[in-house]
Amino acid sequence: MELRRKLEILADAAKYDASCASSGTETRDSRQGGIGSTEGMGICHAYAPDGRCISLLKVLLTNACQFDCAYCINRASSQVPRARFTVRELVTLVLHFYRRNYIEGLFLSSGIIRSPDYTMEQITEVARQLREEHGFRGYIHLKTIPDAAPELLARAGQLADRLSINIELPQDASLRQLAPEKDGPGIRRAMAGLRLRIDEAREAGRGAGRAAPPRFAPAGQSTQMMVGADAADDRAVLGTSAGLYAAYGLRRVYYSAYSPIPDASRRLPPQAPPLLREHRLYQADWLLRFYDFELDEILAGGEGGMLDLALDPKLAWALKHRGRFPVDVNRAPREMLLRVPGLGARTVDRLLSTRRQRAIRTDDLARLRLPLAKLLPFLVTADRHPRAGLLDRTDLRQMLAPRAGLAAAARPRQMVLL
């Protein structure tokens, strides 16, 4: 098969994996030999019309697979054409793309062929040739096969910047149903094993006087969870993520709206991807990790275990906790300012710095280009207090709901006469 055709098949097969991050690894460059560099910040070399970043060459080594996961385009029973890169072909392709500055590096996954160990060996061999034979210093993200032997995972961690294992679905029960060959507890055990090795390498790296600490996935591990393929509600999704972040020190949990695939399984008919739900989950995930929100607080913004699709989760929370507002921008502690809809962490720090020098007035907020319509009902400034009764108005939600973009799509469509 022609290389271009292989690339098309194997990139198409890999695109349902949302992760393309190339950030957070160690700093290295090619001045002492080899090719490539990583400087901490990830670089998105292009964006596709789906709004997703293209940072890495994201492909499968092969899309042939023994597993029959209902949601997956590459499942054993699907009719998609199959292809397989040779290790050499892929290594050469990465180098060609890298030299032309198309990519930051490689994201490599694979269907399971022959055995988990064999598959993992093939994946690792691509990384080994890049690193050892070509001195490749760019970014490598390897998908880890959970059932592969521990020595193979150890080897993968020495070569890669990031490792990942997909949890796939929020609940083990759904996994048993839709991906009968996958093993939820086995996936968590593998993540635990990676965490122990990542921590161990990091500890050793901190120790003084060590010349070369053992390297193990310096950019950590991540995972992906599909949304909308099973009946799990947002509470189940976010609860599972919270557990994963806490247990395995994940850098990221990627949420992937279950997207129609060209050749859908009978067990999981195609449907439009719940993109807005995915977006709200990312926002909620962010609030949980960086804004000190508790899971129950975030969910209190919605109804029945689901987030409010029409509003961002912070605004939804604030509207249900109006008694805690308005807060004084010149007096409130950082934690409370972080809870004001429309104020991000960076803005809050700028406001704290400014108010040590002078009182903050409404036009200061305007100069910082903050969304005043959203902010002002919740905020007291040196020269302005929200109108009396504004926070008690029952139609405040309608007043603040966004009217354009993704969120507007969640509003009920009005009927029109022909």
Binding site: R4, L7, A11, D12, K15, D29, S30, R31, I35, G36, S37, E39, A46, A48, P49, D50, G51, K58, A64, C65, Q66, F67, S77, S78, Q79, R82, T92, L93, F97, R99, R100, N101, Y102, I113, R176, E181, R189, A192, G193, Y245, A246, A247, Y248, G249, P260, P262, A264, R266, P269, P270, A272, P273, R350, T354, R356, Q357, R358, D364, R367, G405
Partner: protein
């Protein structure tokens, strides 16, 4: 500061558009001379001087005396060094105005994030950083193959190949960002051409040259067809979000991105492709599978509680090691586990030799035990090891386990907060613990903490009252109660910590001696 008497504006030419060192030197001299911002007319050498500007008087261009107070916040210098690369002709004046205000009566100015000058400075610096980041991302090299270059498909870097890019930055960033490309492509020969200047790297030195035109760069590259094929293939038509793409990859960059010519067709075709996928619905599975899946991982019915537990408890067994393994496997496959166990990694069983003289029973696995799948390896386990060694206990000859076999926790950010098992949890795991004791047949069971004691005796007993007293379990084995080592870790002050630790070691010595007596 001494004031200078000038009548009109002072002409202040700088050697280059982004020469921070030159601006800094000149600005310090002006500041020392007390020259107010309104009187300085900054420009880049080669540009026409301001209409009313006159040459700078000698005292403002003379070398600086050492006495000049020129200390400014580091945050100003950092932002200024970046912002000076901005294309706005007013940048030099803005920086000098900020410097003037900082040096006069507004030393805290940089903290006032809402001041218009400070806002402008940060906006400029941000725009320059973004431009630099986009340059790192969007420069596309085209390879000029040399006749004598070896086949590139060997994967090796072709000797003599020259990688040339045409790029149009928004600001004066080429020289500052050349270092990025040197670090990344130190072993390649490359050139980046821009309208204003060019940078050339020969593998050893960087040479800056004059600006160029698009025509001077190669018109194509053999690998662009593959790259465009990749770009088309990673796009998911069911997730069309062109505005999100344009926000990060503004249209102004498109003309120099080979993949951008695919965008229009991909967007136009996306609704049709998506509708087709949805309309097509499900398809029949192919008859011949890729390869049969391994039989071992086929799902099997989970054992039911009533069938397997605890009918066979406390019966004589031929092979205790095999029975212990079966007990472990049995717990892993159960469908009636407490719901919170779904968040844990794995059940953690006991470890140690069968027939050990001493068996220690703790509460439940903690964070590290849950990750490693082994008991007593976390902070409390390490403290226990130390105390056991001091008490003369051979750790490898003892059996350690927990009353509850899964880690119960509450996630808080990056950590898992231990939660005590409740009476229901203790009761659930009790048959497993008893079976474990029966199979291990230890000389003496040491219970660590209240949970273990409750699990072993079946009733809540206060440790403080029974500590160190031998208790007989209903099943006949002997229990020696003491505290859990995590209790020692939680004590706040060093004095009580030391006292309680010594007491714990004394308990372990007593337990060892009791086990010796029982064994003899």
């Amino acid at each position: 500061m001494t004031g200078v008497s000038v009548t009109g504006e002072i002409d202040a030419p700088l050697p280059g558009p982004a020469d921070f060192a030159a601006w800094r030197g000149q600005a310090r001299r002006f500041l020392a001379a007390g020259l107010p911002p309104a009187l300085v007319s900054w420009r880049v050498a080669g540009e026409a001087p301001g209409l009313f500007a006159s040459a700078a008087p000698p005292e403002t261009v003379a070398p600086l005396s050492a006495s000049v107070p020129a200390s400014v916040p580091r945050s100003f210098l950092e932002a200024a060094e970046t912002a000076i690369r901005h294309r706005d002709p007013q940048r030099f004046a803005l920086l000098y105005r900020l410097l003037w205000r900082l040096a006069h009566d507004e030393p805290g100015l940089m903290q006032v994030a809402t001041d218009p000058d400070v806002l402008r400075l940060h906006a400029m610096a941000k725009s320059v950083r973004r431009d630099a980041h986009k340059m790192h991302a969007f420069v596309r090299f085209r390879c000029v193959e040399m006749a004598d270059a070896p086949d590139e498909d060997s994967g090796a870097d072709p000797v003599g190949a020259h990688y040339v890019a045409w790029f149009e930055p928004e600001h004066h960033i080429l020289e500052a960002e050349a270092g990025f490309f040197i670090r990344r492509f130190a072993g390649l020969r490359w050139s980046i051409l821009t309208p204003e200047a060019s940078a050339h790297w020969d593998g050893a030195t960087l040479r800056m040259g004059p600006g160029g035109t698009r025509r001077e760069a190669p018109a194509e590259d053999a690998h662009e067809a593959l790259w465009r094929a990749y770009y088309r293939s990673v796009f998911n038509p069911a997730r069309l979000k062109p505005a999100a793409m344009r926000a990060e990859m503004p249209v102004k960059y498109w003309r120099n991105l080979p993949e951008a010519r695919e965008i229009r067709g991909l967007i136009a075709d996306a609704p049709r492709r998506t509708a087709e996928m949805l309309a097509r619905g499900v398809s029949a599975p192919i008859l011949r599978r890729q390869r049969p899946p391994p039989a071992a991982v086929q799902p099997t019915a989970l054992p039911d509680v009533a069938e397997t537990m605890p009918a066979d408890l406390f019966s004589r067994v031929e092979d205790p090691a095999a029975a212990l393994a079966a007990l472990r496997a049995g717990l892993m496959g159960r469908n009636d586990l407490p719901p919170w166990t779904a968040a844990s990694t794995q059940p953690v069983f006991g470890e140690g030799p069968l027939g050990a003289p001493l068996m220690f029973v703790g509460e439940q696995p903690g964070d590290e035990e849950d990750l490693a799948g082994r008991p007593f390896v976390g902070p409390a386990g390490r403290l226990f090891d130390r105390a056991a060694a001091e008490a003369g206990i051979d750790r490898s000859a003892t059996y350690v386990t927990n009353a509850v076999k899964h880690f119960k926790f509450k996630p808080t950010g990056r950590r898992r907060l231990h939660q005590s098992p409740d009476a229901g949890d203790i009761t659930y795991y009790r048959p497993f613990l008893k079976r474990e004791i029966e199979l291990v047949t230890p000389g003496l069971v040491v219970s660590l903490g209240a949970t273990a004691l409750r699990a072993l005796t079946g009733k809540p007993l206060p440790i403080t009252r029974v500590r160190g007293e031998m208790i007989e379990a209903p099943e006949g084995f002997r229990i020696f109660p003491t505290v859990h080592p995590s209790y020692l870790l939680r004590l706040p002050d060093p004095a009580s910590k030391e006292r309680e630790y010594a007491r714990f070691v004394a308990d372990l010595v007593a337990a060892r001696e009791a086990a010796d007596r029982l064994g003899s």
